[in-house]
Every structure is written in structure tokens, then in C-alpha cells.
Amino acid sequence: MTCIHDGILRAHMDGEFSGAELAGVTEHLVSCAHCRGLFEKLRAERTQTENLLATLAPAADSIAINPAIAYAQFNRQFGTAPEPKATLIARLFAPHWRPAWGLAGLAIVVAILVSVNPVRTWAQRILAMLRVQKIQVVTIDPTTLMSSSEPDSRPYKLINQFIADNVVVTMDPGKPDLVSSVTKATQLAGYPIRMIGSLGAPRSVEVNGETAFQMTINRDRVATLLDEIGRSDIQIPESANGALIAVHIPKTVISTYGDCPVRHRYVSSNPQSQAEALAERKMERMANVKDTNCTYLIQAPSPTVSVPPDLNMSDIAEAALELAGMTPAEAHSFCQTVDWSSTLVVPIPRNSSSYETVTVDGVEGTLITETLSQGNRYSLLWIKNGVIHSLAGHGNSSDALSLAASLR
């Protein structure tokens, strides 16, 4: 048998082998004086080196380190709070507030202000094209990987990272203004703000600033993202590569009535409070009864989305709908029926939601009803004078119509 390499002898000395390997080396050492000599030389070198290096070992009590204190010092030294861009992106795209599908309508229009989950948001952002003149509902399967993603899941993080990397915010909405009256909200928003007359004074009125952002579609990056989240089956059309999509969202006003949960308005840069906020949101999701006596009215002028004239929106929308949970065939057939230049497409979960077309405020509207264990939740959507309205709350869907009738 040929002699053993010194690296193998060295590993053998450290007990790195077992089974047949161990037996082979041991057997050879018994029979080969040369290798035994080498082994002994290596052992001597190891011992000498170990002894010398052992003098460097610090006394155990001399390096008592408290990671929490060290981390605080690290933060002070380097200021690891997110940069402005990241803060803004986090604020824009984080799931600010519940309730989920009760706000479906406007959650989609103002996708960056209200997100139910990341992919839906991402898909919706792509879907909310050009100037919205009408609303169309599409049902999706909420059990797919993407639609059921939790905020702390890997797909969620990957998509958030993707958005942070690729979306350029050109207009920062700043902090929302909490105002004391609808009159004040009208002044700030620059268009007439209405209130639900039959519910009395709103509990809170919040004016969100203008927002604008843009993204250039990089087909390779999108493909990488889709690959990473396990949806490499979805194809982004070649023609979309390099297309710049710019979104502008005017000021939106959110009024609440009744016992509404406090909104998680900002994502703090403090890891501790982020974790707390996340935990709190999870608790709310589990309980999800806090807002059963809460009604929302959201008013938002149509966002405008600029896309290159030759961009085939239908192809991109197909990909986005597949991501949101439709089969390719469903997505293709649905996309043929939609005028993407003027339609806001609202995806709703297939198994727990239904929708109907109703007359509201003198125009055609869409009433979405979601069946939950603690009762129904409705979301009534319509567009009047260029302003998208979303009225959401708990109870019978007929309540929505009577509340809408009292708008003034």
C-alpha cells in the first residue's frame, strides 16, 4: 500500500475519520514505519503549536461579553438605522394596517399605502394601470404560495427586498396629517372630502401626502426573483424588459368611524419595536375582532400610471395574476376582457368572498363581501367625480348601501 498523505494523517490525529477510512489508516500505520514516523513528527508539531497558541487564550473572566450591550454600542457607532430610502420604502410597502379584505378595494388603488400581503401588493401595483375609470373584480386562489405569504416569510422578504432595490421613490408622502375635521381635510387634500352622515362625526381623519415612485422592469431580475420564490414557471414578456413604469398617487383621505384599531403607521428602525409591531399584528390577525364595530371611508383620486406606449399591459398583467394565484389559462382569458388603460382590477380570494354590481352614489359600484368566522365584512367600491371611494365595515352588505346613501 502506498504511503498516506500528511493531510490525512493530520486529520486522523484529530479523530476526523470513522468506519472504513479509520480502519484503512490505522491498518496502514501498523504496517508502515515511514508513515508512523511522519505521524509522530506531525503530532509533535501539533502539540508544540497548540501549546504556544494556548498561551494566547484569554482568561475566561477577562472577556465577559454581553451581546445586548455590544449591540447597543455597535448601533451607536455605526447608526444602523435604515437610510431614508429604506425607511420610506419600508413605510410605503410594509403591511401598515389591517383589516385585510374589508379594505380590499382601496387597498389596491392605494397599494403602497395599504398592503394585505406583499405579492398581492406587488401584483396590484402592476395592475393598477393608467387612470382608473372603472373597477373590475377578479377572483384568485388565496391558498397559493404567494397569496398566503406571511410578513415574515421568505417570499415576503425577497419581494420586499426586490422592491427596495428596484423602486425609486420620486415623491415622499411624509407623515400623514391627522386632522380634526372634514373641512380641514378638504383644504389639505385639495378636493371635496365627504363623510358618512348617518354615523356622526368621524373618529379620525387622516390625510396622506402625495406619493410617486417608478420602476424600470429588468426582466432578468424579475426572473431571478420568481425563481427564488419558486415561481420560475411565470414568464415576463421580452418586450417588457427596460420599460419604465411611473406611478403617481394623489393625496388620499382615510376616515374612521366607531371602534377602530390604532394603525401601525410607521415601521420603526428599531429592531425591538419592529419585532413587537410584528407580534402585535400577528395577535390582531388571530383575534381579528377588534374592529368589528369599525367603519372606514377612504377617498382617493385615481392614481396615474405612466407606461411606455408600446408596452403590452395584458402580458404583464397575466404574469401578475398568475403570481396572485390564477392559473395561466384563467389569467390569459381574463386579461383578454380588460381595458388596461382604465380599469382597476381588484383580486379577491375565491373561497371566502363574493361580489356584486350595485348602484351607489348615482353610479355603478362593486360590493365585495367576505365571509369570516366572526361575521361578514364588506367593501363597497365606486368612482365618483374621478375620486375612488371605498367604504368598508362589518355587517350586512346592505348596511354598506345605506351608509353610502348618507354620504355628504
Binding site: 486522523h12 508539531e45 503549536t49 472577556i63 461579553i65 435604515p82 430610502k85 419592529q274
Partner: protein
């Protein structure tokens, strides 16, 4: 999986200038590795606060590399980076020590601060560190990490080599270390 990692890494190279880790994940990694990294650096540098500075530098570099969140070998990366920085710092302080000695500032002026055993131990540490600073950085890195208790697997991850190569690398490094030590301190043949 390999493809995914390669792609995400290449994306980061392009965009790393304004990116960083998600805070909670980073905090978790910091808590998991910080104490051990510092204790390894203390072996190299001898001084706790200096070691913490170097460790912070390594963690700061990590913070700016968000692709490592999904890399799966954050520990290896940290040990590699921290010991690289530590060896650099050791070499710098070694050179400074030489200058000081040449200028007559070191040696005789050192205060006698404890029993003889402590002084001898301190002197031995200085010699060992001088040898570590003089051999190839990868070898010094390997020896200090092994001496700090890292397994073959952890060493392979830290040095980004195959586990089967560790035995050979260790024997070469030990031979080099021993030879260099004897060359610098010929009177200590028995070590």
C-alpha cells in the same frame, strides 16, 4: 439552489452601495456570533477593546452585505472577515512595535505590573503573535481559529475550502509556524 445564490450574489455586487440587512435578522446573527468572534480576536490582539473595535468592523461589513442573509454561511464569512481584519491589525501593531523598539521606547520602559509568571506569559504571547503576524495570513487564520476550538467543518466554511483540505492545510501551517518560531527564537528548541 446554487444558481439562486450565485444570481443573488451578483445582484448584490451591483447594488450593495445602499443596501443592508433586515434589522431583526442582523441582530440575531450579532447575538449568535459576537462573543465568540471577540474571544478569537482577543487571542490575536491581546486587547479587549481593540478586539471589539475589529469585531464591530467585521459586523459592519456584514451589515452592508444583505445577500449573505440567504447565503447560509454567515458564520464562516464572519470568522474569515474578522480574522483577516485581526491579522491586518496584528501586523500593523507589530510594525509599530518594531518602530518603537528602534526608537528605544519599548522593552526597557515597560512597567513591571505583576508577578514574574505574568510577565513571562506576556512575553510569550508577544512572541507567538509576532510569529502569527509573519506567516501567511491564511495559515495564521487557520491556526488561530483551530486553536479557538473551531471544528474541521467550521474551518472549511470559514476559509471557503473543502473539508478534506483542512488536514493538509493544518499540517503545513503548523510546520511553518514551528519553523518560524524557532528561527525567531533559536534558544527555545524544546518550545
Amino acid at each position: 439552489m446554487g444558481t439562486v445564490q450565485t444570481l443573488s450574489r451578483s445582484m448584490t455586487v451591483r447594488e450593495s452601495s445602499s443596501e443592508h440587512w433586515e434589522e431583526n435578522e442582523f441582530r440575531g446573527v450579532f447575538f449568535q456570533h459576537y462573543a465568540r468572534i471577540v474571544s478569537i480576536l482577543v487571542r490575536l490582539l491581546g486587547d479587549l477593546s481593540h478586539s471589539e473595535e475589529v469585531a464591530n468592523d467585521a459586523f459592519w461589513r456584514l451589515y452592508r452585505q444583505p445577500a449573505l442573509q440567504t447565503d447560509g454561511n454567515v458564520g464562516g464569512w464572519l470568522y474569515r472577515t474578522a480574522t483577516n481584519l485581526g491579522i491586518d491589525a496584528l501586523r500593523v501593531s507589530g510594525r509599530r512595535h518594531q518602530y518603537e523598539e528602534a526608537a528605544g521606547k519599548a522593552g526597557g520602559e515597560r512597567e513591571i505590573s505583576g508577578p514574574l509568571d505574568d510577565l513571562l506569559r506576556e512575553e510569550k504571547c508577544r512572541q507567538v503573535r509576532a510569529v502569527l503576524a509573519s506567516i501567511k495570513p491564511t495559515q495564521a487564520q487557520l491556526l488561530i481559529l483551530r486553536s479557538s476550538g473551531l471544528s474541521y467543518k467550521e474551518l472549511a466554511e470559514a476559509l471557503d475550502v473543502k473539508m478534506s483540505a483542512i488536514g493538509t492545510m493544518l499540517s503545513r501551517a503548523e510546520e511553518e509556524f514551528r519553523n518560524r518560531y524557532l528561527a525567531l527564537h533559536p534558544n527555545e528548541e524544546e518550545l
